[in-house]
């Protein structure tokens, strides 16, 4: 924390902590990646415990109101199961065509669906619990330190999977990290009711209204984008006349600095309150009311580990496959060489940026993500899944969607279970056995599993 006085220390003596449990696979963080990791490790025979600081599973998707899967239809395995269950239980449109770019979902239904999958797999959950430290011996992780209402305790595990979204465990274990200097804007979405969907579809003049409100001081906080949109609308969201509004963000906040996070949460929440009277001047939102700001600010990127393999923009745009791929990804985005869609300085709203983006060539590709992206260098018995796997800055901005995170999680969980079964370090798992298992369990690695002809083009790229 930047304001900390680094000169001053308190010496804490050596200390014995109670060991709460010892498991085969310990999953830290119950977000998109964490759920997939736990479910697949449990299904493959491991005794699995997941630790989540919050009360529910799902992470950024349901808690930051990122209510839309992007490029999900071609991702197989657990992601596919989740979508099927969502569609069967009123959480996503059952009539949506295969191959569609976006699958909007209802965050509350998603939490139910994820819990069902999780519970059925036999994995266990310890919620209300924060993982605070890693226990490393002779270059291998042995377990973690946790904090919760029952106190400070230790959990031991044969394999630990870091799904914290910030590589917390890898960082505490002093695993080498990618260079990371440019946090992308954090976003505060908020849930509203009272939306008139018949009227709100017409977006003409909205950007001008935002501009005018900024000019005359009605939107005075420095957190507003130049327009707003209603993010990922599932049928149930629409029927409830609810919406999740995207239009508030904050720049240059470090996601693993507690002072920055505090400031980001506070300022964007104040921005939400200030936005509401303005929102009610926009056609279709005259009767809108605030239900709640997201329970957690949306963090696009964070520190990422340096793995045995680092995925790059060239891998993605060049449609490269590797013998060790753990899933295949369909990709269609403009080639923004040297810049990302959500730059750190917020310039995505400028005319200049728009022009660059408009002039960029659209690239369609299918590429593979190798297992080495999940395996941190130097530290054994640790795997990483989710948005913090080993990717370059540009690769990350193209391959960090929720479906990607679930695919990473599934591979990590399966590899962890294999490692436990064989009694070896996860980095030594037989990759062919792992890939065969992943294919058997629905991942899209088989020849012809991705039929590009089915891809529905979607030009509105919001993330």
């Amino acid at each position: 924390m930047a304001s900390g006085n680094s000169e001053e220390f308190i010496d804490e003596p050596a200390r014995a902590l109670p060991v709460l449990d010892k498991v085969d696979v310990l999953v830290c963080g119950g977000g998109a990646a964490g759920v997939a990791a736990a479910v697949s490790a449990a299904r493959n025979g491991a005794r699995v415990l997941t630790i989540e600081r919050d009360t529910t599973l799902g992470g950024t998707g349901p808690r930051s109101f990122v209510t839309e899967y992007h490029q999900a239809f071609f991702t197989g395995g657990i992601m596919k199961e989740v979508i099927q269950r969502l569609r069967a239980s009123g959480g996503a449109d059952p009539d949506l065509e295969e191959g569609h770019f976006a699958v909007p979902f209802d965050p509350e239904v998603l939490k139910f669906v994820l819990w069902d999958l999780f519970e059925e797999s036999g994995a266990e959950l310890l919620a209300h619990t924060q993982v605070t430290d890693a226990i490393v011996e002779d270059g291998a992780i042995k377990g973690v330190v946790i904090e919760n209402k029952s106190g400070r305790q230790v959990i031991l595990a044969d394999v630990v999977i870091d799904c914290t979204g910030d590589a917390d465990i890898a960082a505490r274990a002093n695993a080498p990290m990618q260079e990371y200097n440019f946090p992308q804007p954090m976003v505060m979405l908020f849930q509203i009711g009272g939306v008139d969907y018949a009227k709100s579809q017409d977006r003409t003049g909205r950007a001008e209204m935002v501009k005018a409100a900024k000019a005359d001081g009605r939107l005075a906080e420095d957190v507003y984008l130049d327009n707003f949109s209603n993010f990922g609308i599932a049928p149930s969201t629409r029927e409830g006349e609810m919406g999740y509004i995207y239009g508030i963000r904050i720049l240059r906040r470090d996601p693993y600095d507690a002072d920055d996070l505090t400031d980001a949460e506070v300022r964007t929440r104040l921005g939400v309150r200030e936005f509401m009277p303005f929102l009610r001047t926009v056609p279709g939102f005259e009767n809108a009311f605030l239900i709640k700001a997201a329970p957690m600010i949306g963090v696009r990127d964070s520190r990422r580990v340096l793995g045995e393999y680092t995925l790059t923009r060239e891998d993605i745009l060049g449609g490269i496959f590797h013998p060790t791929d753990i899933f295949k990804r369909y990709h269609r985005l403009p080639d923004t060489m040297g810049f990302v869609r959500h730059p750190t300085d917020g310039s995505e709203a400028t005319a200049e940026f728009r022009e660059r983006l408009a002039n960029a060539k659209m690239v369609t590709s299918v590429f593979g993500v190798p297992f080495g992206c999940l395996v941190p260098q130097e530290i054994d018995n640790l795997l990483v899944a989710g948005k913090t796997v080993s990717m370059s800055y540009e690769a990350h901005s193209r391959c960090r969607q929720i479906p990607d995170c679930m695919a990473f999680g599934q591979a990590a969980g399966t590899a962890a279970a294999l490692a436990c079964r064989e009694g070896i370090a996860p980095r030594r798992v037989d990759i062919d056995v792992l890939r065969d298992l992943l294919i058997e369990q629905g991942q899209n690695l088989a020849e012809g599993a991705i039929d590009i002809a089915k891809a529905k083009v979607h030009h509105m790229v919001r993330d």
Binding site: M1, S3, G4, N5, E8, I10, D11, E12, A14, R15, A16, P18, V19, D21, K22, V23, D24, R47, T55, T56, E108, K111, F112, W115, E119, L126, A127, H128, Q130, T132, D133, I135, G143, E147, K149, S150, G151, R152, V154, L156, D166, Q191, G193, S236, G240, Y256, D257, A258, D259, L261, T262, E265, V266, R269, L270, R273, K292, A293, P295, I297
Partner: protein, 387 residues
């Protein structure tokens, strides 16, 4: 695998020793307030207003605590001070209204309470550290001199002249070795917010709800742990306009609010039962079009363990003055306990917990802390001086 599992369980060590470490100091302040519920907010506001350099540490990212997060939204009219100010702000902004289902008792909009708390702390000049877990106290010869905190930045020390434990469960006091009273159980429950309710039709049939629920239980359509009726609450004029109100789900007995396993299990069981109850609700007249807005972000609990203080409130009318000694845990110095974990007799609290004005306790703790800092004495010395 099962075999391997039991082998492993057998070789699980009881303890692991972490090596000695040097923990950097994040900040040195006058008053450290642990927990940002109503008690913690009021404590931080009172201390900051009285001129103390005050830091409020909260594990969540919003203030207001369990009430707004759990949809436990009954509003006790403040007896004065900051408690009354919170009340006044909610009323003035149209966010407090009478609930038809609770005989006209006042309820508040959960989001509005979070904002009111944030505003008050900011206006008072209190510092905030969110998404941060308070870990161990820094102890010096029986006196608390700060606390270790854990967050995305790591483990840090906060030094403080006086510390206020407003965690609701006396977390810091317990770790500092204070004497506590633990009730055998503290019921944990789950609530949800539901939209699309046709209130006129629904309420017209409310006399039949217990029978409908009983019938569904008999027929196996509802789990026996479900509530005995449709516990609908939060019906205000605005709620009627929007068709949105709250439903109380099951309450689990035999559990303890300071036990993480109990919390975790109740959270998942509660949500699952709530989902089933909401499906049942759609078969009840007036609720056919109902939909889930959200399940509460955390469990509802009114009651937890308590410190044994210099004084203990064992009886008294709700709103009665609480002796200062109730905030002073025995066996520890320089620590005040504000909120539901203050020194009440657990039986008394179980009876009248909802009537305890946590913000008033926080207010008193914050003022006392600032006074102790100013006079260079411990909070306990203040009491002695006043006696």
């Amino acid at each position: 695998m099962t075999e391997a599992r039991s082998l492993q369980a057998a070789d699980k060590p009881v303890e692991i020793t972490l090596p000695a470490r040097r923990t950097p100091v994040y900040r040195s302040v006058d008053v450290l307030v642990c927990g940002g519920g109503l008690a913690g907010v009021a404590a931080a506001v009172a201390a900051a207003r009285a001129g103390s350099d005050t830091l409020l540490v909260e594990r969540n990212v919003v203030l207001g605590g369990n009430g707004p997060l759990a949809f436990d939204i009954g509003l006790t009219e403040g007896s004065g001070g900051i408690s009354a100010e919170i009340f006044e702000r909610l009323r003035a902004s149209g966010n407090a209204a009478a609930d038809e289902t609770a005989g006209g008792a006042l309820i508040y909009d959960p989001e509005a309470l979070k904002y009111a708390c944030l505003d008050l702390v900011r206006e008072a000049g209190g510092h905030l550290l969110l998404a941060t877990w308070v870990s161990d106290p820094i102890l010096d010869d029986g006196a608390v001199r700060g606390a270790m905190v854990e967050n995305k930045s790591g483990r840090f020390a906060v030094r403080a002249k006086v510390v206020i434990d407003a965690t609701g469960d006396a977390d810091l006091a317990v770790r500092a070795g204070a004497a506590v009273r633990e009730p055998g159980e503290t019921p944990l429950g789950i609530n949800a917010r539901v939209g699309g309710i046709d209130f006129d039709r629904a309420l017209a049939g409310s006399a039949h709800w217990p029978a409908l629920v009983a019938e569904a239980k008999r027929a196996g359509r509802l789990d026996p742990r479900q509530p005995d009726t449709i516990a609908l609450y939060g019906i205000t004029p605005l709620a009627r306009e929007r068709g949105i109100a709250f439903v109380a789900g099951p309450r689990f007995g035999g559990r303890q609010a300071w036990n993480s396993r109990d919390l975790s299990v109740s959270e998942t069981e509660g949500r699952k039962l709530m989902r089933a109850f909401l499906a049942f609700l759609k078969t009840v007249p007036g609720f056919e079009e109902s939909f889930l807005v959200d399940v509460a972000g955390t469990l509802a609990l009114t009651h937890s363990r308590h410190v044994a203080g210099d004084a203990t409130l064992a009886d008294g009318a709700p709103g009665a003055a609480v002796p200062f000694g109730c905030l002073l845990p025995q066996g520890v110095d320089n620590l005040l306990v504000a909120g539901r974990a203050a020194s009440f007799d657990p039986d008394f609290y179980a009876r009248s917990g909802a009537g305890i004005d946590c913000a008033a306790l926080g207010d008193a703790a914050g003022r006392a802390a600032a006074e102790a800092v100013r006079s260079g004495v411990t909070p306990r010395d203040l009491e002695a001086a006043a006696a």
